[in-house]
Subunit: 482 residues, 2 copies
C-alpha cells in the first residue's frame, strides 16, 4: 500500500448521484485505500448558477491537478446549456477511449445466464459523427460529416491492445462498416490490421458491425474485447449492457492521455433520488476500475469480489428480481463492506496490470505521402432542374477550360450521363469536374474560375477538392460512375 | 383467385440460391398460386461472363416488365465488380424501403423463447452514409458524408405507417441519434413527428438508437415496428434477426415505388451448396411476403402457417437443433407442402391488407423557404501549424474584407480562439468565416475572394457555405464555439 493518499476529483452529480457516489466512497474507505476525495460540482446546479458549460472552473482546476475523476450522473436542466456537462468534460480533457466492460453477475437475471459473458467495448470517443459537424446543403438536405483520422485510429487501436494486454485478455474484434465506407471505416480496419502484429499474444479479428450485432445476439460468449468507432460503439455498448442485465450494472471509464474519468452509464433517475433506493453497483464497479487505474489493483479486485459475493448471497436493490426483500442503497453497501475479503464462487479475481495509455502528442497528427495531386473538384449545387439540362448547361459553362464535367450524382447515385436508374431526385446535386488532360495537375486558380462559372448558373453550396495521394484516389465514385 | 398468372422475375442466384428458390417455387405452385416465373441470371456467373454490374440487361428488362422479383443470394466473385449485384439492383430500381420482419418460430431455440417476439425493422435504403460519398481531406483524414433529405424521410416514414396499417400493427418506434446530429438525424425525428398525426390509429414513439439497441436486448417484446435510417437499420435489423434465431429464418423485402424485390438476408453458403442441406425457411417466408405484395394474401398466410406447423412438428434442417434427424432441403419442403391448409397452434394468421406504397415523384424534391441568406463559409484547410499561428495568419489575410475569422476547430472542437481544451490536433482544420456586419448578406464574389486569400496561405480542401433558412442556422456550432 502506498503512503500519501491519492487525490481524486469526486463529482457527486445529480439525482441519485450523491447516493451512489457515497456508497462507492464508503466502500473505498472500508477497503483501506489511501484516497483523498476532492468534492466538486458539475451539472444541474452549475447550469442553474449561470455556468454555461455546466462545469465550474474550480472543478476543472481540481481535475487538472488530480487527473482522475469519480463522477455521478449529470443533468442538463431544460433551457440550460447547448451541450451537456458530460460532453464538455470529455471534450475538455479529450478522453479518447470509452471503456465499457460487462459481465454476467450472480443474481442478475438475463436471457444469456450461464454463458459467462465477459465483454469489453472499447469505443473511440472523439471522432466520427460525434464531431457534430453539420450543414444544410439546401433547405431539404442535411449533411453530417463522419470524420475518421489515422492518428485517431492509431491511438484507440493501441489503447485497445494495451487494455487487452493489461487485463490478460486474448481476442480483439474490430467492428467496422469498411465494405460500404472504404475510406473512413476502411481506415479503422487498416489501422487495426497494421498495428495488430505488434501484439502477437492477442488474436486480432475484423468483423462487419452489422454481423457483430447479430453475433452479439446469437453467440455473445465468442467476444472478449470489441474495438469500434464512436457511433457504432454507442449502439454496441448499450446492446452489451442490455445482454448482461442493464445499465444498473454497467460501469464505464473515459480515458485520455492525461485524465481518466470513471462513471456509471445510467442517468440520474430523479424519480427515486434521495430515497435510499438506488442500485449503486454500476458506480461501485466504476470505482474499482478507478482504483486499478491509480495502482490500487488489490483493493479493486477485493471490492469486485465483495460485490459478486453480495449478489451471490441474494442481497439486492429494488430494481433486481429476487426472493429476499429489497435492500436500501445503504444496506446494500453495508453488505458489500461486510463481504470485503471474501472470494466469489463464480469468478476468480483477474490479474490486471496498469494500462499503458498512449501519450498525447504536441505535434499536429498527419501522414506523410510521397506524391500528391489535385485532379478535379466536386461542386454541390442546389437546383430544381433535371440532370440532362444541368449536364448540358455545365458542360457548356466550362467549354474551353482545362476542366470538364464528368458525372452528376444525386444522393450518391450517378444521374448524368443517363444511367437508367429510377432515381428520385432531391435538390442537391454533386457535380464532378476533372481535368480534360488526366496528366495535368489542377491548380487553385482553375478551381476558382470553375467555381465562378458554375456559380453563374447554379447556387453552389459545398466544394470538395479531388485529391490523389501516392497514386490512389482520395475520393469515392458515385454508384454507376465509370 | 385471379385468372392470368402473375409474371414474377425469379433470380435463383449463387451457392444455395437455386435450392432455396426452388423450394419456394414448389410451395407456391402447391399452394395453387397462378404464378409465371421468369427465370433470370444475376451475380457470380454474370460477372464472370464480363457483365460489369453483375446484372445482365435481360434481367433488368424482365424486372422492368414484372416489377416483382424473387431473388436468391448473389455473390460478387473476388476480382470482379466495384459494387455488388445486390446493391446495383437496389439502386437501379430505387427500393427505398428495406423491410425486415422477425418473429419467434416454433422449434427455433433462442434466449428469448416464449416472449413472442414479432418485430419489423423498416430501414431507409437509399440515403445516409450508404450514399457512399467519401473524400480524403488530407492523407490522414477521411470524411464520409451522411446525407439525409426531407423527401427521403417523408417517403420512408409514410411507408412505415402504411406498412403498419396494412399489417394491423399498433406501434412504431422511430430510432435516431437526434440528440447528437440535430440536423440530419433530427430531420428523421421531426419528419416522423410531423407525419404521425395523419395515422392516429398508430402509436408513434421516438427512441434514441443506442437505447433502442439496449431495449432490444432487455425487453424486445415491447417493439412492433421500428423505423430507422440506413446505417442504424443495418445494425438493428441484424440484431433482431439474431434475437429470433439467425439469418436462416430472416426474410426481407426491398420495396420501391415501382419495383419490389423479395429475398433472404443470408448469403450463398458455398460450403453446403448443391448438397440438399440448405434451410429454405428465410426464402420461403420472403416468397410469402411477395405473394402478399401481388395480392395473393390468402396463399401467403397459408404458406406461413404451413411453415409454422412444420416447425411445430419438429421437422428441421441440419442448422437447427432438435430430436429428429435433420431433413434435406427437399424433405423439409415436402413437409411444408404436406402441411398447406393446416393451422399453427402458436400463431393465428394475421389479417393483411396491401401496402399503399408512396408513389415516385418526377419532381426534384425540395422544401420551400420564405427567407434565406448566406452568412459565411467554413473552409477546411490542411496544415501542420498550431491554431494560434493559423488564427493570426488568417485574421490578417482577411483584414479589410467584409468577412472575419470567427473560429477554428479540429475534429469538431474549437481550438482558436484558445478554449483550454486538451485537443490532439490533426492536419485538417475547419476555419469559420462570417460577415463582420451580421446584417449583411455574403455574396459569391466575396467568398471567391476569401478562398483566394485563404488559399494563398494554406492548402484548402473543402468549402461549405453557411446558410440560414427561415431565420434558423443551417449549420452546427463547434464544441466550445460561442
Amino acid at each position: 500500500m502506498s503512503s500519501a493518499p491519492t487525490p481524486v476529483t469526486v463529482i457527486p452529480g445529480d439525482g441519485i448521484g450523491p447516493e451512489v457516489v457515497n456508497a462507492a466512497l464508503r466502500i473505498i474507505e472500508a477497503a483501506g485505500v489511501p484516497f483523498a476525495a476532492e468534492l466538486h460540482e458539475a451539472g444541474a446546479k452549475a447550469f442553474q448558477r449561470g455556468i454555461e458549460s455546466g462545469v465550474p472552473q474550480d472543478t476543472i482546476d481540481s481535475i487538472e491537478r488530480t487527473r482522475v475523476v469519480l463522477k455521478g450522473p449529470l443533468e442538463t436542466p431544460i433551457g440550460y446549456g447547448n451541450k451537456s456537462a458530460n460532453v464538455t468534460l470529455r471534450k475538455l480533457f479529450e478522453t479518447f477511449a470509452n471503456v465499457r466492460p460487462v459481465r454476467e453477475l450472480p443474481g442478475v437475471e438475463t436471457p444469456y445466464q450461464g454463458r459467462h459473458l465477459d465483454i469489453v467495448i472499447v469505443r473511440e470517443n472523439v471522432e466520427d459523427l460525434y464531431a457534430g459537424i453539420e450543414h444544410m446543403q439546401t433547405p431539404a438536405v442535411a449533411q453530417s460529416l463522419k470524420v475518421i483520422t489515422r492518428p485517431g485510429c492509431e491511438k484507440i487501436t493501441r489503447f485497445a491492445f494495451e487494455y487487452a494486454v493489461a487485463e490478460g485478455r486474448h481476442t480483439i474484434h474490430c467492428a467496422t462498416k469498411s465494405n460500404i465506407m472504404k475510406l473512413s471505416e476502411g481506415m479503422v480496419q487498416h489501422t487495426f490490421e497494421d498495428i495488430a502484429p505488434e501484439y502477437p499474444q492477442i488474436t486480432a479479428k475484423h468483423i462487419l458491425v452489422d454481423n457483430c450485432a447479430h453475433q452479439l445476439a446469437m453467440r455473445p460468449e465468442q467476444f472478449d474485447v470489441i474495438l469500434t468507432t464512436n457511433m457504432n460503439g454507442d449502439i454496441l455498448s448499450d446492446l452489451t449492457s442490455g445482454l448482461t442485465g442493464g445499465l444498473g450494472f454497467a460501469p464505464s471509464a473515459n480515458i485520455g492521455s492525461d485524465v481518466a474519468m470513471f462513471e456509471a452509464v445510467h442517468g440520474s433517475a430523479p424519480d427515486i433520488a434521495g430515497k435510499n433506493l438506488a442500485n449503486p453497483t454500476a458506480l461501485i464497479l466504476s470505482a474499482a476500475m478507478l482504483l486499478r487505474h491509480i495502482g490500487e489493483g488489490k483493493a479493486a479486485s477485493e471490492i469486485e469480489q465483495a460485490v459478486l459475493v453480495t449478489l451471490e448471497e441474494g442481497v439486492r436493490t429494488g430494481d433486481m428480481k429476487g426472493d429476499r426483500p429489497p435492500a436500501t442503497t445503504t444496506a446494500f453497501t453495508d453488505a458489500i463492506i461486510a463481504n470485503l475479503g471474501k472470494r466469489s464462487r463464480m469468478a476468480a479475481p483477474r490479474e490486471y496490470k496498469r494500462i499503458n495509455v498512449p501519450a498525447a502528442s504536441n505535434e499536429v497528427g498527419h501522414v506523410a505521402v510521397a506524391t500528391r495531386s489535385v485532379v478535379g473538384a466536386d461542386i454541390f449545387v442546389e437546383s430544381l432542374e433535371h440532370p440532362n439540362e444541368m449536364g448540358d448547361t455545365l458542360t457548356r459553362a466550362v467549354e474551353g477550360t482545362p476542366l470538364e464535367l464528368k458525372v452528376i450524382s444525386n444522393r450518391g447515385t450517378a444521374v448524368w450521363p443517363d444511367t437508367g436508374h429510377r432515381t428520385s431526385l432531391v435538390d442537391a446535386f454533386q457535380c464532378r469536374f476533372v481535368a480534360r488532360d488526366a496528366a495535368r495537375e489542377v491548380g487553385d486558380a482553375e478551381l476558382l474560375d470553375l467555381l465562378q462559372r458554375v456559380g453563374a448558373k447554379y447556387r453552389w453550396v459545398h466544394v470538395e477538392k479531388l485529391q490523389r495521394f501516392d497514386g490512389k484516389d482520395g475520393f469515392s465514385k458515385a454508384q454507376g460512375e465509370r
